[in-house]
Symmetry: C3
């Protein structure tokens, strides 16, 4: 009898251990297992990451379509090179600078410069994963890198057709290794803007307005293209050479933006996250639709003819606008936020021309002005307008001032602008010696 | 002793509770948890949705490549705008019209017009999810929207080079808010065709033949392009301006179709669903291969030279053909169904020309004739031929008649066709004032 | 008392049964369920597969951009057709030839030729799945097919501008039905190279160097394009007609490569796999970045001007180089492996020109030389250099010799090269009769 009880107790202890493992809090037949959460979060970063990587191609096509045929090869080269540079800068410096961890203040700035990104070991055992409710370091690095690269992509379009290749590439090194990671860390690295309650879901300001600020500094330093602004006040149209490419680029960006905003949910391991990512996809799409239609209607009303480049930039402005808060708005709200972005672009592009700031593809209007609008619009749903203004201003001023400094230093060292003759002949001739369309370009 | 037993019993009750939670029906170590099913289903819709969204770019590139260079910008504008319009129409009216829920008949038609789509709240608690074996509303809306947009994309190619921008866009509003959602609800909304057993897995008829019916009505209303059909009976070839774009568009559509058909499995949370989605991917791919090779061989045999545009349309016809039933056939069967689609296109395109119906990109043949073929071919594996014929006929006639009516009303109000002079100069000049290729187009 | 014990024992048995089902080894609240593992593995193949399918478009665009405008339509036709042929060849013969299962030696070669690929039945019950730790047959077939098609894509670029359409397509049939599946089975089918410990993660040699070997045999058989190598030793530059297309193609390939290498992990159902796939994504990206920047800097240093086509081929060479082992290296190591790939291409391209081997797009250098480099570089992290050399040599020689034989037989039967007049007029004229750019091409 005692013996039987002994067996029973032993069995019960075993049974008890099992029930402990499977207690309601630790496992529930409804819930996703811890490992599955980790895998799904990682998968979201990987899918989001490859979609945002695809945006690099979108910028390349958009810009190649909007510049004149004599600078297309240079524009393409800049886009491929800036993406490659971002990959290496972010690995060597940027990622650790952006996510300094606990030591955010001092060592957060000094330490990372001397250490590179290290991923988890191959096929890790569970206890090497720091947080099962997170995602793999590799997927996080991959995803975040693409945001860094996007910031640089924004710059290349504005300063097209007159800037030399190499000064641009050197600027990209500094932007992707230092400028972007530092300002992005203020929010996403848990820095002072984060502590103040600044809200920027996927980077209307941290990525887009920041990139536009760097671009603006470049455009001011460079000055406009030869002949763009005549002395008599007229503006010479310099139409893009390939509308299908510009449209393709816009569609690529539109597609990639699902990864940009959706991946910024950072998690897919719970039904809440799945619902939220779905909201974000829908809102992102409808904001682009609102932006493009607003520009379509507005250009028809204002100029009596629809302007495709405005429609494309309107869609992009809608996407930029919703990026600061793609989750909270209803579909209708998101459409409206995007539509206002589209309206902004239709007014901002000619305004910049009046200021004689020559932004070849309209990136300052699309990513800068609409980015600021989107960041401030967060105040409608969550966050305070004051904090939003302060955050946006801090980042834009920080990036603009340092960029202006860098552009001027580069100009002093190596002259960032090509000669007049080279500009008139086209950068493809002077900088690269390869025509984009040797068989059929007039130029 | 009694005491020990008490402890034992208490422990057993706890143990028993645990075993209850983990009973075979509620949880099984093999099965996927309820929440994971919901997440995986949602993920399928999101991935499928972004792939089908990408098809909008495919149509834009295909059509931009197949029209003459003087109407490329207009064609691109139409494609971007129609996609944007679909997003907003489907949100405002279409989605609720298409899925009226229980109240399918009367209130199903009147109610939705006055209510917009509402998603789940942000980060919902579990009890706000209506069905854990389903997917998030946002992901479903996102996915279904793309089908609605695809229907409109099919129309734009056929009526290219002669229709004004604005009447086309007004038509798209009506098509995406009413026509498509109503006929699609007959099957996918649980309507009368669904009850009769009509089978159309991913929309060979509901999407493709429906879009082609609207396009046919447009082509008939518009008449052919100037000079296309000479009085002496000869047909003037009007070759597409950019074969790489047309090919790129085809590849984009091919890629997007994995989302189109694969996502239409609607679920990925069980191994059965995973196996089925895999079958669908394989069959979709092989049907496209069959279609393109059939057109390749047939044009070689019939015309002694391979015709790339036919090869591309053959691939698309293969994809359209397999869309009504991409799951049931074997790989060989799917290849054959696709190949017959390819053959159909090679014969349908010149036949339409003989009827003097000017379909600029071949969309009526590809999406209409091959779509009908695919829907009828379902009878080989499941479903009755009679019901398939009735369903296909009902939808095509419904869309065709209403579209014809709309086109004529629009024509009466605002004339849908550009002037002869504008057509000869090209729509890019008259409608938009932006050349697609200003640097190197002859025209 | 006895009674109570009876109840207790009964309860304990029930409890014990449960604990058995849920024993630590079979289920753990942390672990992913067996079915979820199967679904996630399948999902990885499907995502990986559609990304690699997209590479077919990448090759088409890259090659269309790098050939002269008078052969663009032919180049596009070849690319669409080869992908379609691969789909059907691999279904009819290749897949079963490549994975002969247990009967690898004799029946492995004879059996498959008479049996086609059969997928799991629709909606299978669990016991029809052979291995829950694997993935669906459909997803595996879909994924592996894309590798087979990639091998053929590599060939088309090298032999461009002078080979007839039909002999090329016949070669593709043989390559995708027999040559590729046989050599790939040596490693991935569990064949003799696998048994010897040869290591080629995603196919630097099995896919890329193999494709390049077939291309080299074709280039030698064909001879160079007319006028390419002048008698006085000078080499006539024949610049590609469309740099944006070439760049787009490169970005597409770069994107697709995440599927190519990431999917080759073959599993996503454990956190180890998720971490590994993340490492692979990051390393793949950084290798491309390293390759493109190496080529950028090197062409600047060597030729005083950056060469975009070299930058693009450098990125591709980086991708090819890391393909044999994208998992083990650190990010820095992967960057270096890719960069060396980029350097190799800058030297290999002019070297082939010196040997008067006319490789129109540089595929032999990119996929062949860099592929061999990548395969040998595996020895740094795992595997023996001797075995790597033997495996690489075996595969390259096998494919090269058989390809040379096939090209010569085809040449004897039907002449594989177009006439001089047709070559000068352009293949689009002679082979297809469709201009790629009828509205604006000079030629």
């Amino acid at each position: 009898m005692i013996n039987s009880l002994k067996i029973l107790v032993t069995a019960l202890i075993a049974c008890g251990l099992t029930t402990k493992v499977l207690s309601a809090e630790e496992i529930n037949s409804d819930l996703v297992s811890n490992h599955a959460v980790f895998i799904l979060n990682t998968l979201l970063f990987l899918i989001g990451g490859f979609l945002v990587m695809w945006m690099a191609a979108g910028f390349a096509m958009l810009e190649a379509g909007l510049v004149r045929s004599k600078t297309v090869t240079t524009q393409l080269t800049k886009n491929v090179a800036l993406f490659s540079i971002a990959a290496i800068s972010f690995y060597l410096v940027g990622y650790k600078l952006m996510y300094p961890g606990d030591s955010w203040w001092i060592s957060g700035y000094l330490g990372p410069i001397f250490s590179v990104t290290v991923l988890e070991p191959v096929g890790p055992v569970v206890d090497q994963i720091t947080a099962l409710d997170s995602a793999s370091v590799g997927s996080d690095f991959f995803f975040q890198l693409m945001f860094c690269a996007t910031t640089a992509s924004i710059v290349s379009g504005t300063i097209a057709e007159r800037m030399k290749l190499w000064p641009f590439l050197i600027f990209v090194v500094l932007l992707t290794a230092f400028l972007y990671p530092i300002e992005a860390s203020w929010k996403w690295g848990g820095g002072w803007l984060h502590e103040m309650g600044f809200s920027d879901f996927a980077g209307s300001t941290l990525v887009h307005a920041a990139g536009a600020s760097a671009a603006l500094a470049g455009a001011i330093t460079l000055g406009p293209r030869l002949g763009k602004y005549k002395e008599n006040g007229t503006i010479t149209p310099m139409p893009g050479s390939n509308m299908p490419l510009a449209t393709l680029g816009t569609f690529i960006l539109w597609l990639g933006w699902f990864g940009f905003n959706g991946g910024s949910q950072l998690a897919l391991g719970t039904i809440s996250d799945a619902v939220d990512v779905s909201r974000i996809f829908t809102n992102t799409n409808t904001a682009a639709a609102g932006g493009s239609l607003a520009a379509l209607v507005l250009t028809q009303v204002m100029y009596k003819k629809v302007d495709l480049t405005m429609v494309l930039n309107g869609a992009l402005a809608g996407l930029v606008s919703i990026t600061a808060e793609p989750l909270a708005p209803s579909i209708g709200g998101a459409t409206l936020i995007g539509a206002i972005g589209g309206v902004i672009v239709v007014f901002a592009v000619p305004l910049l021309d009046k200021l004689k700031i020559d932004d070849v593809v309209g990136a300052i209007s699309v990513h800068g002005v609409a980015g600021i609008w989107g960041t401030l619009a967060v105040a409608f749903s969550n966050g305070s307008l004051g904090v939003q203004i302060m955050g946006t201003a801090s980042i834009c001023i920080f990036v603009f001032v340092l960029s202006l400094l860098i552009w001027h230093v580069l100009d002093a060292i190596m002259k960032i602008r090509v000669s007049e003759e080279d500009e008139l002949n086209g950068l493809d001739n002077s900088e690269l010696g390869i025509d984009a369309y040797p068989d059929f370009s007039k130029s």
